[in-house]
C-alpha cells in the first residue's frame, strides 16, 4: 500500500468469560486495510471473524466480553480507548457496519426513509428537510426502484435484497472511510447476492472507501476481495492477495478448505472433507490450533507458529511451521 491505511488493527485480543474464566476468541489479530481496498476475512463458524468486526466497532458485549489488548487505529486514533459517547460519534460516521440480517438491524416500526435520514441527522447538522432529501438521494443511489414512492414504507414491505440495500444506504450516509460488512449476502438468494455484490463493488470504486468483508463463502471472496485473511479458531492463519491465495493456498487449512468446496464450474471430483472439528474455545491447544486436524503435523506444531512471510512473495504470510520451511527435521 502506498498511502496510509484506512484502518490498522494491531495485535487485537478479545476474550469472553465462560464459567468464571476468560478465554480468547481472537488472539493478537493484526491487519491493515488501505483506501479503495477490500479485505475479506474468511473462515468457518467460530473462527472469530465476526468477533473481530465487533471488536473494531466497540460492540463486544460488556457483560461477558472484553478487549484484553491491542489497538484499532482509525485516523491515528485508537478506537479501543474511546468512551461510549466518542464511539457513538464514530460509528455510522467514519466507520460503518452492515449486518447479515437487515430485518433485525432495521427498526420495524419506523419507515425506512426516516431511518436513513435519522443517521444523517445524528451525525451532521443537516436540517430535517435536507436530511430527507439526502436520504432519498442515497436510496436512489443504492438503486431502490421508485425510491420516492417507497420512502415512507416500512421494512416489512421490502424484500431481503431491498432491505440490505437500505442498510447499505444507511452505512454510506455519512461517507465513511471504512465499512465492515458481516456476511451481508449470506441470507440472500444467489441472483440477489450477485446484485448486492455488484452494488458494493460499484460504491467502493466510486467513494474510495475501504471495505472489510466478512464471509464464510470462498466463492464470494474470489469475486469481491483484493486481499484475504483466513481465520481459524481465533487466529489469522494465512493472508495474501486474492490471486495468490487461490493460486497458491499454503496453510494446510486454507488448502483443505478449498478442496472441500463442491464447485459449480467443475465435474464432481472427490470431495476431501476436513476430518474432525474446530476445538471449543474452552479447550484450545497451546500450539497450532489446526494441528489436531492437520495431515502435516510435526512435533513442533505443539508450539504456536508465528505468521511468516513466504520467501517468494513478501505479502503472502502463513502461520505454519511446516509450510514456511521451519518444521524441523520431520518435515
Amino acid at each position: 500500500m502506498s498511502s496510509a491505511p484506512a484502518l490498522v488493527v494491531d495485535r487485537l485480543t478479545t476474550e469472553f468469560r465462560i464459567d468464571g474464566r476468560w478465554h480468547a476468541a481472537i488472539r493478537e489479530v493484526s491487519f491493515a486495510v488501505g483506501r479503495h481496498e477490500t479485505l475479506a476475512l474468511v473462515g468457518e463458524s467460530g473462527c472469530g471473524k465476526s468477533i473481530t468486526a465487533l471488536s473494531i466497532m466497540g460492540l463486544v458485549p460488556r457483560a461477558n466480553g472484553r478487549i484484553a489488548s491491542g489497538r484499532v487505529l482509525l485516523d491515528g486514533r485508537d478506537l479501543v480507548q474511546l468512551d461510549e459517547r466518542e464511539l457513538e460519534a464514530t460509528r455510522g460516521g467514519a466507520i460503518a457496519m452492515i449486518f447479515q440480517e437487515p430485518m433485525t438491524s432495521l427498526n420495524p416500526v419506523l419507515p425506512i426513509g426516516f431511518q436513513v435520514a435519522e443517521t444523517l441527522r445524528y451525525h451532521t447538522s443537516l436540517s430535517k428537510a435536507q436530511a430527507r432529501a439526502q436520504a432519498l438521494a442515497l436510496l436512489e443511489h443504492v438503486k431502490i426502484p421508485s425510491a420516492a414512492q417507497r420512502f415512507d414504507d416500512y421494512p416489512h414491505h421490502f424484500s431481503g435484497g431491498m432491505r440490505q440495500r437500505v442498510m447499505i444506504a444507511m452505512a454510506l450516509a455519512c461517507k465513511p472511510q471504512i465499512v465492515l460488512a458481516d456476511e451481508p449476502t449470506t441470507a440472500l438468494d444467489v441472483t440477489i447476492q450477485a446484485q448486492v455484490l455488484a452494488l458494493l463493488a460499484e460504491l467502493k470504486a466510486e467513494t474510495g472507501m475501504a471495505l472489510i468483508f466478512i464471509t464464510h463463502n470462498l466463492g464470494v471472496v474470489a469475486s469481491i476481495a483484493d486481499r484475504v485473511a483466513v481465520m481459524y479458531a481465533g487466529d489469522i492463519v494465512e493472508t495474501a492477495s486474492v490471486e495468490a491465495l487461490f493460486a497458491h493456498p499454503t496453510h494446510p487449512y486454507t488448502e483443505a478448505l478449498l478442496s472441500s468446496i463442491p464447485r459449480v464450474d467443475r465435474d464432481a471430483g472427490a470431495l476431501k472433507p476436513i476430518a474432525g472439528q474446530v476445538p471449543p474455545i474452552t479447550a484450545m491447544p497451546a500450539g497450532c490450533r489446526y494441528a489436531d486436524r492437520c495431515p502435516l503435523r510435526v512435533e513442533r506444531c505443539a508450539t504456536m507458529p508465528p505468521l511468516v512471510a513466504l520467501s517468494g512473495n513478501r505479502e503472502h504470510e502463513v502461520r505454519c511451521w511446516v509450510r514456511t520451511g521451519d518444521g524441523g527435521a520431520a518435515s
Binding site: V190, T191, I192, H216, S223, P262, V264, L271, K272
Partner: protein
C-alpha cells in the same frame, strides 16, 4: 426402459392465503404447477432453485406430507395418493426425509437412542434387544460413536446432528430419501463430510435421492440429473453436466453465472440479473421469468412456453426453443 422407482406426474398445489386486517382479503399462492420428473433406483435427482420456487413443497408432496391439488406420485408403480392408510404406512417405510435443520427435527428431551429406535418400534421391527443392536449399527454407519445413543441432541454439533438425522431416516431401510437442504446449515468442511457420507450410503445401499438445494455446487457434486425450478414450475431438466456447462434456459444461465466460484479469474463472468422474483400470488402472465429475462420476446409475456425436449434427456420450457423438437433445434444466441 424399466419402471423408475419414483415417478412424479403433473403435480399442482395452491395454498390459500389470508391477509389484511382480521384475515379479510384472500389470495392464492401458486406453489406448484405441472411438476413432472422421475427418479431411477440408485439415482440422485436434484431440485434446485431460489427461495419460494416450490422445491421443498415438491419434496413434501412426494411423501404425501402435503396433499397436492392435482397430479400423481408413483412409487414402485403404486399411487401414493390413493394408498389406503395401511398401504401408506408401508410406503412411508420406504420413503424417508432428511431436513435442513436437524436440531429442530430432533426431540430435545429424548436420547439419540430413543429417537432412533422409535421408528423401528412403531413399525414393529424386532425385539427391544434387536432394536438396540440396530441402533448401534446405524450410529456406526453414519460415523457416530456408539455412546451417542445415551446422549441428547444438544450435546452434538450441527454436523453430528445431521448424521443423527440421517441415521433416523435409515432406520427403516428406505429405498428413497428426500433430502431437503441437508447441508445448507453446515460449514463447508462439515458439509463435505456429510456429502461424502451420503454418497457412501447411496452406493452401499443403492439409495435413491430427491436432493433439494439452493446451492448449485452441492447439486453438481451429488446429483446425476437435475431440475431447475422457478416460481413453482420446472423450467429446465437434464443431466448435470449439460445443465451446468451448457444451460439452455436464460434463468438457469443466470443462476449458474451468479453462483460464486472460488477462483478470482472467474469473477468477470458474473452476469447481472435485474429485478427480483415475482410474487407467487400473482405470477407474471406468460413465462414467469420474462420480466427479468434478458432475452424476453413479445410472446413471452403472453403464453407460458411449452416443454421442448432438446435432446432425449434434456428439456426446457422457453420460447427460445420452439416446440417441434428436431435435430437442429435452434440454440440461443
Amino acid at each position: 426402459m424399466t419402471t423408475p422407482l419414483l415417478e412424479v406426474r403433473k403435480l399442482a398445489k395452491t395454498f390459500p392465503v389470508r391477509h389484511g386486517f382480521m384475515g379479510g382479503r384472500t389470495g392464492t399462492v401458486h406453489a406448484l404447477c405441472d411438476i413432472s420428473f422421475s427418479v431411477a433406483a440408485g439415482e440422485a435427482f436434484g431440485l434446485v432453485g431460489e427461495s419460494g420456487c416450490g422445491k421443498s413443497t415438491t419434496g413434501r408432496a412426494i411423501l404425501r406430507l402435503i396433499e397436492p391439488d392435482a397430479g400423481t406420485v408413483l412409487f414402485k408403480a403404486q399411487d401414493v395418493y390413493r394408498a389406503d392408510p395401511r398401504r401408506l404406512r408401508a410406503l412411508r417405510r420406504e420413503m424417508q426425509i432428511v431436513f435442513q435443520d436437524p436440531y429442530s427435527s430432533l426431540n430435545p428431551r429424548r436420547t439419540i437412542g430413543q429417537t432412533l429406535s422409535e421408528p423401528m418400534r412403531v413399525h414393529g421391527l424386532g425385539s427391544p434387544r434387536e432394536i438396540r443392536s440396530r441402533v448401534r449399527a446405524l450410529l456406526a454407519e453414519v460415523g457416530m460413536p456408539v455412546d451417542a445413543a445415551e446422549k441428547y441432541p444438544h450435546e452434538f454439533s450441527g454436523g453430528q446432528r445431521q448424521r443423527i438425522g440421517i441415521a433416523r431416516a435409515l432406520a427403516l431401510e428406505p429405498e428413497l430419501i428426500v433430502a431437503d437442504e441437508p447441508v445448507s446449515a453446515l460449514d463447508v468442511s462439515i458439509q463435505a463430510q456429510i456429502l461424502v457420507l451420503l454418497r457412501g450410503l447411496q452406493r452401499s445401499r443403492n439409495l435413491s435421492f430427491v436432493f433439494i438445494s439452493h446451492d448449485l455446487g452441492v447439486v453438481r457434486h451429488f446429483c446425476r440429473t437435475v431440475a431447475v425450478m422457478y416460481l413453482g414450475r420446472i423450467v429446465e431438466r437434464g443431466p448435470v453436466p449439460a445443465i451446468f456447462d451448457a444451460p439452455l434456459h436464460p434463468y438457469t444461465r443466470a443462476l449458474r453465472s451468479a453462483s460464486p466460484v472460488p477462483d478470482p479469474k472467474a469473477k468477470v463472468i458474473m452476469m447481472k440479473l435485474e429485478g427480483e422474483v415475482a410474487s407467487a400470488m400473482a405470477p407474471p402472465a406468460g413465462c414467469h421469468f420474462h420480466p427479468r429475462c434478458p432475452q424476453a420476446m413479445p410472446i413471452c409475456s403472453e403464453v407460458y412456453p411449452g416443454w421442448t425436449q432438446v435432446t432425449p434427456d434434456h428439456g426446457v420450457a422457453c420460447h427460445l426453443y420452439p416446440s417441434p423438437a428436431s435435430e437442429d433445434a435452434p440454440r440461443a444466441q
